[in-house]
Symmetry: C2
Subunit: 252 residues, 2 copies
């Protein structure tokens, strides 16, 4: 059993670097923290590579981890590689899944994000997509990095529950159209009130940037662009809230 | 025209203290930041007391402020009293409105929050309540402080758009019942699926704490407790997202 007793250990330095996107891409790994998230990650095949646990904590008995390296460390090591103020004393290193082209079929419900920049919003929308029974999430160009700790924390584990792809939204919009899946964009103006649509078992819904909304070149690719009426004096809804209202409405 | 050139000025020290709840309550004032928020605050009578602006910024021409003190200061003063990383160079001191008992009438739609602790969630729900055309928001015991900068920022100005009261939820639930307003709680279990309800022009909706939900003693006071079905593998929705789905559904 490996045991690390210093924050100056080279592996510790390497793990700490995984809080930066560049290092995650270079190494093909990301870091997650806390018992709940790791438990969810362990349910996915070949995802978790290493578990690092503080010597004053213990691994839950029901965790199964063949072929996963288990490392004990002094509490200061866990604190060193944590990004939270109150570390739970357990961290895991996971492999970034390959961005495989998933098959999109005519029964699918997809959520697509177009330049959503706030990590909390991206994470919350993945969590809501999971809850709403969406089949896939696609992060387009300019979205917050899926493997940043803030996104992962905000998903509350949903990052491990459904396929999340990264790529060009235009390509995925075209794939949806080939499958006769209606593609709904969102817009503040020049749109259709969302509740004029009929809920259906398959659709693709696109949400845009917090400040500027969806990009013009995607807005023209959709079948319809929806908006949520503002009845009071606020200018807009939080994008994560808007996504929730629309997904739950459209799925029926 | 007053001009402040040092961060050691006593007034500056006093303003900085307004980031703490205790000082806000003691002084009966709170601090807001940025052009957009101040513009919204200026639309409310007798709210803004002082505007402090960096000497390298200028007051928008359309702002009207009789009886509001205007103070110029060096940029470092604005930075000193700011809680954001990129201060906009303009700040205002506002009076905390009296928590007047508002009349609740039978046509009202109310949002009540029960121990919602995260300031971002409280602020987002106020913003959504505004957008959904709710008539009033009531913050019960144990909620994040309405006048913290994080709550105010998250409301995006909606804090100035509708009455927001603080008090005992039980009292307000009773007032609603006197007016025949149906009171809907929210629960993860033992509830009614929300879309079994009929949308209506008046209702009170209660959302609870992020981790533990609504308190038991309020759950038994409601007419019905609603839940949002989880179709995927996530355990729950973000409380702000849940509030949005329910308010937009119930208002019809």
């Amino acid at each position: 059993m490996k045991y690390i007793e210093s924050v100056k250990n080279n592996q510790v330095k390497q793990w700490k670097k995984l809080h930066k996107k560049k290092e995650r891409e270079k190494s093909g790994t990301f870091i997650i923290e806390g018992f709940h998230l790791i438990e969810e990650a362990l349910k996915v095949n070949d995802l978790v590579e290493i578990i690092i646990i503080s010597e004053d904590r213990s691994i839950p008995k029901h965790w199964e981890f063949n072929e996963i390296e288990l490392i004990y460390a002094v509490p200061s090591v866990l604190k060193e590689i944590s990004e939270t103020e109150t570390p739970q004393g357990v961290t895991a290193i996971c492999r970034i899944p390959k961005n495989n082209q998933q098959t999109i079929n005519q029964h699918h419900k997809l959520l697509m994000l177009d330049q959503v920049q706030d990590p909390g919003n991206v994470g919350t929308m993945i969590r809501t997509a999971d809850a709403a029974g969406m089949d896939m999430v696609i992060l387009g160009e300019g979205c917050a990095d899926l493997y940043s700790s803030k996104v992962i924390r905000s998903t509350q584990g949903s990052i491990f529950h459904l396929p999340i792809l990264r790529g060009e939204l235009s390509d995925y919009i075209k794939l949806c159209k080939l499958q006769n899946i209606p593609v709904y964009g969102t817009a503040l103006t020049n749109g259709v009130v969302y509740h004029e649509m009929k809920p259906s078992s398959s659709f693709a819904l696109i949400l845009g940037n917090e400040g500027s909304g969806m990009s013009e070149n995607h807005l023209v690719q959709t079948d319809k662009n929806l908006f949520i009426p503002i009845h009071g004096k606020s200018e807009s809804l939080n994008v994560g809230v808007a996504a929730g209202i629309l997904m739950y409405y459209l799925r029926g």
